[in-house]
């Protein structure tokens, strides 16, 4: 069991194993996303009130999902890196931060674009929107902190500490923002709870969500691989990989 764990945690092993399954998840991801897109954009019925503009939901909702999930993946990796000092976890954390931030940004952007036709404004201070923005700041903090330290070992430790504090805080932030919002009960448009969606609209959404999970995985694995190559560039196996092409890795 432990042996297996440590083997998995060895960057070299991960690089080689991921090389084998990356094409597969890429294909699956491509499949789900194109299926979802074609279905959602082409075949799902128009929304009664919002017309075609609702179709942005097929990007918006999946990326909102992954934005949050991504933070926990990042923080968990940070915790593992700090507690068990596992190199690979360190790299996962480093790779997860910008990817998560990117998904958060896409969620914010698509939401804002969607807001204009629906609410007539790009932005309202809705509880979920606001907490999404705060999440984005948390990500930014981790990324900037990480890149500001020049000493690599320190940068990931510092960022992991911050991510951990953030993890304790995320539920608190969400609770408080929610509480704040219900307290004020603003008269403006409310961000309705999952509108009871027609199954024809909902099914492609599910497909897109699955597709986005794959997309996230692809992005994460790919950037971990780059990070591994970078950090282990001095080691023999990487040199072999780069200079002689005898490794049959794709």
């Amino acid at each position: 069991m432990w042996q297996w764990f440590h083997r998995l945690a060895s960057p070299r092993w991960f690089y080689q194993a991921s090389g084998k399954f990356l094409p597969w998840i890429s294909m699956l991801g491509l499949f789900f996303i194109s299926l979802g897109l074609v279905w959602g954009l082409g075949f799902a019925p128009q929304d009664a009130k919002q017309g075609n503009s609702f179709r942005i939901i097929y990007i918006h909702v999946p990326s909102s999902f992954l934005a949050l999930v991504g933070y926990y993946i990042m923080a968990a990796a940070g915790a593992i890196a700090i507690i068990w000092k596992i190199k690979l976890a360190d790299m996962v954390m480093k790779a997860a931060a910008p990817i998560g931030a990117a998904f958060t940004f896409v969620a914010l952007l698509t939401g804002a674009i969607w807001g204009k036709p629906t609410w007539g404004t790009y932005w309202i201070w809705d509880a979920r929107i606001t907490s999404m923005l705060i999440l984005f700041f948390l990500y930014l903090g981790v990324i900037i902190l990480q890149s500001s330290y020049e000493h690599k070992g320190l940068s990931s430790k510092a960022a992991a500490l911050l991510a951990l504090v953030g993890t304790v805080n995320i539920p608190i932030i969400y609770k408080s923002v929610d509480w704040w919002y219900t307290l004020h009960q603003p008269a403006t448009i409310r961000f309705t709870e999952a509108p009871s969606m027609h199954p024809d609209m909902f099914q492609p959404l599910l497909v897109m969500i699955v597709g986005f999970y794959f997309l996230y995985a692809i992005a994460l694995v790919a950037s971990i691989r780059v990070e591994i190559l970078h950090r282990e560039r001095r080691t023999k196996w990487v040199q072999d990989l780069v200079f002689t092409n005898k490794n049959n890795d794709p």
């Binding site: 930014l140 903090g141 900037i144 902190l145 500490l161 951990l164 304790v168 805080n169 923002v177 307290l183």
Partner: protein, 223 residues
């Protein structure tokens, strides 16, 4: 009491008193910024009184935040930190002492001054007790969480405002509960709920923050 705690506590208090001017600075900053608001916004007291709880809280938060920069910086620059960290004393208490002194010279006076500024912004009478209580506890949380940020950004140099970016998201719950407790009090509701929440946030950060700060400080001298 723990030696490390007492020594650092007295030392930092002495340093704060030596810089006599600095003691008053967060307070003066708070004061000036609050004066800016009517200038930039509106002098009408009816409108001011509406935004008063929020503005007071936001500005108290900023005042406390901005004085954090120097919490560990001088000790880091002059080599004290490096030598303190390798003492055979638990770092937790020394860090806690520094944070408490920080609160004593910023949060505490800010909270006590707030009613006067509230008056200037026509804060309705019912809001004052909640304002002072929420600020007293809230600024303590700010000092605690802020210390984490200050320690994490320590080796990165003074330039830049990375610290606010890091701690601001962590501050948001405190701000929300703090400002809203004042608003609730003004509207005649009970404030026990939000104040209790702030209290438990304080307890939580009192336990967690000094540990994380100590860890970050240990990192900072590895450079």
């Amino acid at each position: 009491m723990n030696t490390g705690f007492m020594v650092i506590f007295r030392r930092d208090l002495l340093v704060a008193i030596r810089h006599r001017g600095d003691l008053a600075n967060p307070v003066i900053f708070f004061f000036i910024v609050i004066v800016l608001v009517p200038l930039g916004l509106t002098p009408e007291s009816s409108k001011l009184s509406e935004i008063a709880p929020g503005i007071l809280w936001v500005m108290a938060l900023l005042a406390s935040l901005l004085s954090l920069d120097s919490l560990f910086q001088n000790d880091y620059d002059d080599g004290t930190l490096e030598q303190i960290i390798i003492l055979p004393q638990p770092l937790y208490f020394m860090v806690l002492a520094k944070i408490i002194v920080h609160w004593l010279v910023t949060g505490l006076p800010l909270s006590l001054l707030a009613p006067i500024l509230g008056m200037m912004l026509s804060l309705p009478d019912a809001g004052y007790p909640a304002l002072v209580l929420s600020l007293l506890m809230g600024t303590a949380i700010l000092s605690l969480l802020g210390a984490v940020g200050a320690a994490l950004t320590l080796p990165l140099g003074k330039e830049g405002l990375l610290l606010p970016l890091i701690v601001m998201p962590l501050y948001m719950p405190v701000l929300i509960f703090g400002a809203n407790s004042v608003q609730l009090a003004i509207n005649g509701f009970s404030v026990i709920g939000p104040l209790a929440t702030i209290g438990s946030l304080l307890a939580l950060s009192l336990i967690v923050a000094p540990y994380v700060t100590a860890g970050a400080l240990r990192l900072s001298i590895q450079g």
